[in-house]
C-alpha cells in the first residue's frame, strides 16, 4: 500500500464532511459520482470509504472493471487509496448482536442458529437497524485513528429507500422509548443532525422526470410535504450528472440557414445538429429550473461516453471538486 501523504489537501465544502450520504432516483449515476469523489479524495491524501447498501457491490465493476474483485462487509482497497464495502445483513447483524451481548462468541452462536437467522432475515426493520448500527460505528471512530476512514461515502438506495432510512428514528419513536435500540437511534439521529459531520447530497439527471423527483425529494427532506421526513439532515450539493454540451456555438447556429441554402444535400445533417442543440438546450433548461427550485450549491457533471474506469471517474471527481459551484449566468442560454 502506498504511504499516505503527510499533508492532506482539504476537500471543499460541502464535500468536507466526514459522513456524506448520496441519494437520487435509480439510474442517475449515484455510484459513478460517489466513486469519482472517492478517487479525488484519495488523490488529495484522504482515506475514503464507499459504503454500498445493495445486494451486491457495484463499485468494483466501475472502478476496477475486469478485475474479479469481491467486495464484502470488510472494507477492501479497490484501487490505491480508495476503499469500499458492501453491507451484508448477516455480518452487520453479528456486529450489532456483539455490541449488545459484548461477547462475539455468543453473538456468533446467535447468528449461526438457523432458526434465529431465518427469523432475523424475515423480521421487519432488522436490515435497516443493523445497517444503521454499522454506519454509526464507522462514523464514531476518530478520523485520525489507525484504520479509520474519512470521508465515508454512503450510496443510499433510490429515493424511497433513503427516506425510509432517514425516518427510522421516527418510526421507532414511541415503540422503543428506552433500551439498546433507543440508544442506537438517538445516536443516529444526532449524527444525522450534526452539520459538522454529516451531509446529504442529491444526485439528479437533466431530464424532466428525474428532475421532478429530485425536487419532490428536496421538499420532503425539508419537511414541506405531508409525508415529509422529520429528520433535519443537513443538505449538501445538488449534483446534476450527464449534462450534455451544446454541440454548436451561437455563431455556428446563426449560419445554419445559410448552409442549408448553399448545400441542400446537407439538410439532414443540419436537422440532426439542430435537434442535438435543442436537446442540449432542453437539458440546460431543466438544470436551470431545478436549480431554482432546489437552492443548494449546484455541480454539473459532463456526460461520460464510453466505458467508465478509474481514470474516467478520477476526472469526474476532479471536476466535481474542482471549480466553484456553477452559478445561474453560466447556465444561461447565450444570446
Amino acid at each position: 500500500m502506498p504511504a499516505r501523504p503527510v499533508l492532506t489537501e482539504p476537500l471543499p465544502a460541502p464535500f468536507d464532511r466526514r459522513v456524506q450520504l448520496f441519494t437520487g432516483k435509480g439510474g442517475v449515476g449515484k455510484t459513478s459520482v460517489v466513486a469519482g469523489l472517492a478517487m479525488e479524495a484519495a488523490r488529495r491524501g484522504h482515506r475514503p470509504l464507499i459504503v454500498e447498501l445493495g445486494h451486491r457491490a457495484s463499485v468494483p465493476g466501475i472502478l476496477a472493471p475486469g478485475r474479479a474483485l469481491e467486495v464484502g462487509y470488510a472494507p477492501v482497497e479497490v484501487v490505491p487509496g480508495v476503499f469500499a464495502m458492501n453491507m451484508s445483513l448477516d455480518d452487520a447483524l453479528e456486529d450489532y448482536i456483539t455490541a449488545q451481548v459484548r461477547v462475539r462468541r455468543a453473538a456468533r452462536a446467535i447468528t449461526q442458529s438457523q432458526a434465529l437467522r431465518r427469523f432475523f432475515h424475515a423480521a421487519p426493520a432488522v436490515n435497516e437497524v443493523v445497517t444503521l448500527h454499522r454506519l454509526s460505528r464507522l462514523a464514531e471512530a476518530a478520523p485520525s485513528a489507525r484504520g479509520s476512514f474519512s470521508p465515508i461515502l454512503v450510496d443510499l438506495d433510490a429515493t424511497g429507500h433513503a427516506l425510509m432510512f432517514l425516518e427510522l428514528p421516527r418510526v421507532f419513536e414511541g415503540l422503543a422509548s428506552s433500551g439498546p435500540l433507543r440508544t442506537l437511534l438517538d445516536g443516529f439521529s444526532k449524527l444525522l443532525r450534526d452539520e459538522d459531520t454529516t451531509v446529504l447530497h442529491l444526485v439528479a439527471l437533466p431530464l424532466e422526470l428525474p428532475a421532478q423527483e429530485t425536487h419532490e425529494l428536496y421538499e420532503q427532506l425539508r419537511g414541506n410535504t405531508a409525508t415529509g421526513v422529520t429528520a433535519r439532515v443537513p443538505l449538501g450539493a445538488l449534483i446534476v450528472n450527464a449534462v450534455p454540451d451544446r454541440p454548436l456555438t451561437p455563431e455556428e447556429l446563426a449560419l445554419l440557414p445559410e448552409l442549408e441554402a448553399a448545400a441542400p444535400a446537407l439538410r439532414a445533417d443540419v436537422a440532426l445538429a439542430r435537434g442535438a442543440q435543442a436537446a442540449a438546450e432542453d437539458a440546460l433548461r431543466v438544470v436551470r429550473e431545478l436549480a431554482q427550485r432546489v437552492p443548494l450549491p449546484l455541480r454539473r457533471l459532463p456526460r461520460c461516453e464510453g466505458a467508465l474506469g478509474a481514470d474516467a471517474l478520477a476526472r469526474l471527481g476532479a471536476r466535481l471538486l474542482g471549480g466553484a459551484p456553477v452559478n445561474d449566468e453560466r447556465l444561461g442560454v447565450s444570446a
Binding site: 435509480g26 439510474g27 449515476g29 445486494h55 457495484s58 466501475i62 450489532y96 451481548v101 461477547v103 455468543a106 453473538a107 452462536a109 449461526q112 442458529s113 432458526a115 431465518r118 427469523f119 424475515a122 421487519p124 426493520a125 436490515n127 438506495d157 433510490a158 429507500h161 425510509m164 425516518e167 418510526v171 414511541g174 415503540l175 422503543a176 422509548s177 428506552s178 433500551g179 439498546p180 435500540l181 433507543r182 422526470l209 428525474p210 450534455p244 454541440p247 454548436l248 455556428e252 449560419l255 448552409l259 448553399a262 448545400a263 444535400a265 446537407l266 439532414a268 445533417d269 436537422a271 440532426l272 439542430r274 435537434g275 442535438a276 432542453d282 437539458a283 461516453e305 464510453g306 467508465l308
Partner: protein, 426 residues
C-alpha cells in the same frame, strides 16, 4: 410489422399478467402504462398497477393523481382500435400505496376485533408505513387481490427498481416462513409474562441456548436484550394476531406462487443501454434465473438516435434526436405532431461539398456531430447485443428513445408503436 412487434403484441394479446422488472431510470413505469394502453387498443380490459409513479404520468393519463384506488383512464374512445373492425377496450390505473393496501388487506382477511388490535399496534403502524420489505409484501397481496377480482383481461405490474424487484417475488413465501418460524412460535408461547432484563452470565446463557434448544421465554429475553422489552411486547402482540391468520397467508402465498408460474403470466425485463443500468439488469437476470422465472421479453428503452425526417415538417426533424423533448408539442393539433424517426442513423450522409470558408467549417462540424451520435448508437447497440446474448434466447427488442414529453395518452400510445428487433441494427 416486425418480429419484435409481434412478440410484444402477442404477450399483450394473450397473457393475463405482465410483470415488468428492470433497473431504475429506464422508463419502466412509463412503458408499463404504454403496454396496458396498447392492450386496451386491442380491445382488452387492462389495468396498470404502478409503484410510485411520477405526477407527470398521472397527468399524461388524464388523471388528477394516482393512489390506491383503481381509476378509469379517460379519453380512450378517441383512440383507434388496433385491429381493423375491432374496438377499444378500457384502461384502469392504480398506484400501490403501502399503508392503504395494508389496511385494505387486513380489512379483507380479519374480523373487527383483530383488526382493531392490529391497527392500534405500534409495531404495525411503524412497519406498514415504512419498511422496504413490507412494500414488497403488500405489492404482491394487492396483485393477487386484483387478479382474483377478475375484472381485467390483462394486468400490467410495474415493480420497484432492480434491488427490490426480487424482494417482491420472495415476499409472500418469506412472510409464511416467518410466521412458521419456531422462533415466532417460541415468542408467542414465551410471552406469558413481561420479559425481564438479562444480566451477566444470563446473557451468554441465553445466547448459547439459542443455538440449540431455546425455550420461548429465553427467546423473548434474548430479543429484549437486543432491541428492548418494549419493542418485544408490541411485536408479540402483533405476531399473536398475525399468527391466527397464518393459514390465510399461507393459502395466498401458494396462490401467488401459482400465479407467477402460470403460463398466462409473462415477465418483461426493461433496460436501457447505459453501462451502469445494464450491470443492474444483469444482476436481476441472474436473480430471476435462480428463481426459475422464465423471461418472455427484453425491452430496451431510450435506445437510439434515428435519421431526421427532413422531407416533412422541419420541426419533425428535431424529434429524431436523442433526448430531444419538445415543449410545444401539446400546442399543436395531434395530427401535426412529429412522428418518431424510423431510419437508422447513417455515419455519413454526404461528402462535404466545396463551400465558402465558414460554411465549410460548419459543415465539418455537423459531420462531427453526426459521427458522435452514430458512435453513441453503435456503442449502445454493442452493449445491448452483449446483454441480450447473455439472456440466452430471450427475444429482445428496442424502442425509439422517448422523443418528446408525455403530454397525453397519444404520446404514451406512440411509445410502443414501433419496437425494432435488435438484429436490425441502427
Amino acid at each position: 410489422m416486425s418480429g419484435a412487434q409481434v412478440g410484444l403484441d402477442e404477450l399483450l394479446r394473450t397473457r393475463r399478467l405482465v410483470v415488468c422488472v428492470g433497473p431504475g431510470g429506464v422508463g419502466k413505469t412509463t412503458s408499463s402504462a404504454a403496454m396496458a394502453l396498447r392492450a386496451a387498443r386491442m380491445g382488452r380490459r387492462a389495468l396498470v398497477l404502478t409503484i410510485d409513479p411520477a405526477k407527470r404520468l398521472a397527468d399524461a393519463l388524464g388523471l388528477d393523481g394516482l393512489d390506491d384506488e383503481v381509476r378509469r383512464v379517460p379519453g380512450l374512445d378517441a383512440l383507434t382500435p388496433l385491429d381493423p373492425g375491432g374496438r377499444v377496450g378500457t384502461l384502469d390505473a392504480a398506484m400501490l400505496d403501502t399503508k392503504a393496501s395494508y389496511d385494505a388487506l387486513l380489512t379483507r382477511v380479519t374480523d373487527a376485533a383483530s383488526r382493531e388490535r392490529i391497527f392500534g399496534n405500534r409495531a404495525y403502524q411503524a412497519f406498514s408505513r415504512t419498511m422496504a420489505r413490507s412494500h414488497a409484501y403488500v405489492a404482491m397481496e394487492r396483485l393477487l387481490h386484483v387478479v382474483e377480482e377478475d375484472r381485467w383481461d390483462l394486468i400490467v405490474l410495474d415493480t420497484p427498481p432492480t434491488r427490490s424487484a426480487l424482494d417482491i417475488l420472495d415476499a409472500p413465501e418469506r412472510l409464511v416462513r416467518f410466521l412458521d418460524e419456531r422462533v415466532v412460535q417460541w415468542f408467542l408461547r414465551g410471552s406469558g409474562e413481561p420479559p425481564e432484563p438479562l444480566e451477566g452470565d444470563a446473557m451468554e446463557g441465553a445466547a448459547a441456548a439459542s443455538a440449540g434448544s431455546l425455550g420461548g421465554r429465553a427467546a423473548v429475553k434474548l430479543l429484549s436484550l437486543l432491541v428492548g422489552a418494549e419493542v418485544v411486547t408490541e411485536l408479540v402482540s402483533f405476531f399473536s394476531v398475525l399468527a391466527h391468520l397464518r393459514q390465510g397467508f399461507r393459502d395466498r402465498a401458494a396462490r401467488t406462487a401459482a400465479l407467477l408460474a402460470s403460463p398466462s403470466t409473462a415477465f418483461v425485463l426493461t433496460a436501457a443501454p447505459m453501462p451502469s443500468g445494464l450491470a443492474d439488469a444483469a444482476n436481476l437476470l441472474e436473480g430471476l434465473r435462480a428463481r426459475r422465472v422464465p423471461l418472455a421479453l427484453l425491452l430496451f428503452n431510450r435506445a437510439f438516435t434515428t435519421e431526421p425526417v427532413v422531407a416533412g415538417d422541419a420541426a419533425a426533424a428535431l424529434h429524431a434526436v436523442r433526448g430531444a423533448a419538445d415543449r410545444r408539442a401539446a400546442d399543436r393539433p395531434a395530427a401535426d405532431r412529429p412522428a418518431f424517426g424510423e431510419q437508422p442513423l447513417a455515419p455519413v450522409v454526404q461528402a462535404v461539398p466545396a463551400l465558402p470558408g465558414p460554411l465549410e467549417a460548419l459543415a465539418q462540424r455537423l459531420a462531427a456531430v453526426r459521427r458522435a451520435a452514430y458512435d453513441a448508437n453503435q456503442a449502445d447497440l454493442a452493449r445491448m447485443r452483449a446483454f441480450a446474448g447473455s439472456a440466452e434466447g430471450v427475444p429482445a427488442c428496442m424502442l425509439p428513445r422517448a422523443l418528446r414529453e408525455l403530454e397525453d395518452i397519444r404520446d404514451l400510445d406512440g411509445l410502443l408503436a414501433r419496437p425494432r428487433p435488435l438484429v436490425d441494427g441502427l
